[in-house]
């Protein structure tokens, strides 16, 4: 039965850019393992007679006609930027990642 190790939780924290304290890792490990257990239960219940589903919502996507609408102005678009320059968002230095 899959469960979360401390290392995995730390790794998830890194991926989400969240610094976790030891106490937080302990607490999250407990909480996430409860969730994992629930998912495992669902998997046990779903036998061969239950068709797999990819999405619980019984709807299909609406397709929008390819027609342009008025966009935001550059001022509106960058209004929420902490810092902007020449109509562009200023982002901190990127450290050799992508």
């Amino acid at each position: 039965m899959p469960t979360f190790t401390r290392e995995e939780i730390e790794h998830l924290g890194d991926l989400a850019r969240i610094a976790l304290t030891d106490e937080e890792i302990t607490r999250l490990q407990g909480e996430l393992n409860v969730i994992a257990e629930s998912i495992n239960k669902v998997q046990e219940v779903a036998g061969d007679d239950v068709a797999p589903t990819a999405n619980p919502v019984p709807l299909e996507a609406y397709l929008r006609p390819d027609v342009a609408e008025t966009p935001l102005t550059q001022e509106e678009a960058t209004a929420g930027a902490p810092v902007s320059e020449s109509g562009m968002f200023v982002a901190p230095r990127i450290l050799g990642e992508e």
Binding site: L15, R64, P65, A77, E85, M88, G96, E98
Partner: protein
């Protein structure tokens, strides 16, 4: 630091390359994949955005119908199975060009799967490339690194982000691992990309200009010992955006990895970058596992249902595919394989076809588009289509030649006039008074003058030495301002000699 490389010929003798290509094709829809922001290349920064392209809270994506239709077209062209139900998934990663911090892509339920593409190589060999999937996703914005040397990430102190491209629809075509290519692997990779470009253009679903980033490829390469079935560790070179770049990347990676493996080293699974300036690939970051992207179905989007009716309607709209079209035209035009290859390499298929439709002979059309006009286009650094002369103009010049109204020299001058913006061939001919003089009286007089001015030449001609004939024809041409019909002149000269 220069990396150790093995000679290419030795590398492919010792190792068997396995490769795969992930090709991103930017669709030429009017609006973005999930919002009605208009798409235009080179607009003011951050002027083509809606709250959805910026990932603002409370905004919801709605799928662009045309993007779905384009994806189906490409799927059909690549002989894919089109899924009745497909799903969009979030691919999570942090980078400032992604305003939502996730890309909306497709993961385990892509729209197109299990296809193939037959790729024709220069020598006519056909190589079948298996397609794993061709899924729909949205593009990221663009970072400009500021403060460092020549806009590189290294040393930059901050980045400026333009989100205009964020949300532009892409199709990512992923091949299955391509095996058995041997030393021809780079050639096959290049030919595959060109074939994709031709298909995408024929379908009219993308501008397909690599230099503008409409098409780019991630190149995966690994080596294994000859005879081995197991794949080696691969490197992934990201965002290669020229056909030559793809071939060079393949060659470089094969040589680099062979040198490491021959020394008993191990290949690092990493992403690399092709550097056009140094013609090398450079190491980037160690590759994330798919797990690290934490893909999950996008809860903002319900499943995409593609009905049989929709597929049937699109099937009926499918144009002839490039390879079939090339073969048909070659037969119609009766060109040899070599001639056809020249036409393809000059990217002149469309213009020749249009010129033939406008009434010219295939050989006549080829002569112009591969000769004068290719030279002109190369000199100006533009495509044949961008020249100031249309296929109809070329067909008109050909007709004037066929009717005996222009000789070769005047025809070239007429074409030069059209290229210079003087109007259509008829306008140029009229403005300059170009006219072939085949009127015997005027030509006989000009030949008489030429004889009188060149008695020594006439002596030689009379003695049977025909070499200096050009001097007489040249003199007649000068006298008639280039408007004489050379054949008629030769005939008169021969009559006078005997």
């Amino acid at each position: 630091m220069a990396e150790k490389l093995m000679k290419y010929a030795d590398a492919v003798k010792q190792f068997d390359p396995v490769f795969g290509l992930e090709t991103h094709v930017e669709l030429s829809t009017n609006t973005k994949l999930f919002c009605p922001a208009h798409i235009e290349f080179g607009g003011e920064p951050n002027s083509q955005l809606t709250p959805v392209s910026l990932g603002l809270p409370g905004s919801l994506p709605v799928i662009n119908e045309t993007a779905v239709d384009y994806a189906i077209k490409l799927g059909l062209a690549l002989h894919c199975e089109i899924a009745e139900w497909s799903q969009f998934a979030r691919k999570n990663y942090f980078y400032p060009d992604m305003p939502r911090d996730y890309q909306i892509s497709q993961y385990d339920k892509p729209t197109n799967g299990n296809g193939y593409l037959d790729v024709e190589l220069e020598d006519g060999t056909v190589f079948r490339v298996q397609i794993e999937r061709a899924h729909i996703e949205d593009d990221a914005g663009k970072n400009t690194h500021v403060g460092g040397a020549d806009g590189r990430i290294e040393g930059a102190d901050h980045s400026l982000v333009d989100y205009n491209r964020a949300g532009v629809p892409l199709i990512e075509i992923v091949t299955k691992p391509i095996e058995g290519a041997g030393e021809r692997a780079p050639e096959i990779a290049g030919a595959y990309m060109r074939a994709i470009r031709d298909i995408v253009r024929a379908l009219n679903i993308s501008h397909a200009r690599m230099e503008q980033g409409n098409m780019r490829a991630d190149v995966n390469v690994s080596l294994r010992p000859m005879g081995s079935k197991e794949f080696g560790t691969r490197s992934e070179t990201k965002n290669v955006n020229s056909f030559r770049g793809i071939e060079k990347t393949m060659q470089y990676e094969i040589r680099r990895q062979a040198a490491i493996l021959a020394d008993g080293g191990e290949i690092l699974q990493e992403t690399r970058h092709w550097d056009e300036a140094t013609q090398t690939t450079a190491g980037g970051r160690v590759k994330s596992d798919a797990d690290d992207y934490r893909y999950f179905p996008d809860p903002d989007l319900v499943m995409l249902h593609i009905t049989k009716d929709r597929i049937d309607r699109i099937s009926k709209e499918m144009p002839e595919m490039p390879r079939e079209r090339r073969n048909r035209l070659q037969q119609e035009w009766q060109f040899s394989d070599l001639e056809m290859r020249d036409v393809i390499n000059a990217d002149a298929l469309d213009t020749i076809e249009a010129t033939v439709s406008a009434g010219a002979s295939a050989s006549g059309a080829k002569k112009w588009w591969l000769g004068e006009l290719s030279r002109e286009a190369n000199a100006k650094g533009v495509s044949l289509e961008e020249l100031d002369i249309t296929p109809e103009d070329v067909a008109e010049v050909e007709k004037l030649i066929a009717d005996g109204k222009l000789n070769d020299k005047l025809a070239k001058q007429t074409v030069a006039g059209v290229l210079a913006g003087e109007g259509h061939p008829a306008d140029v001919v009229k403005a300059h008074g170009y006219q072939v003089v085949s009127d015997d009286g005027a030509l006989v007089a000009a030949v008489d003058e030429a004889f009188a001015a060149n008695p020594d030449v006439v002596e030689k001609l009379k003695s049977g030495n025909m070499k200096p004939m050009g001097a007489i024809i040249g003199a007649v041409m000068r006298a008639t301002k280039g408007q004489a019909d050379a054949k008629a002149v030769t005939k008169i000269v021969m009559e006078k000699l005997h």
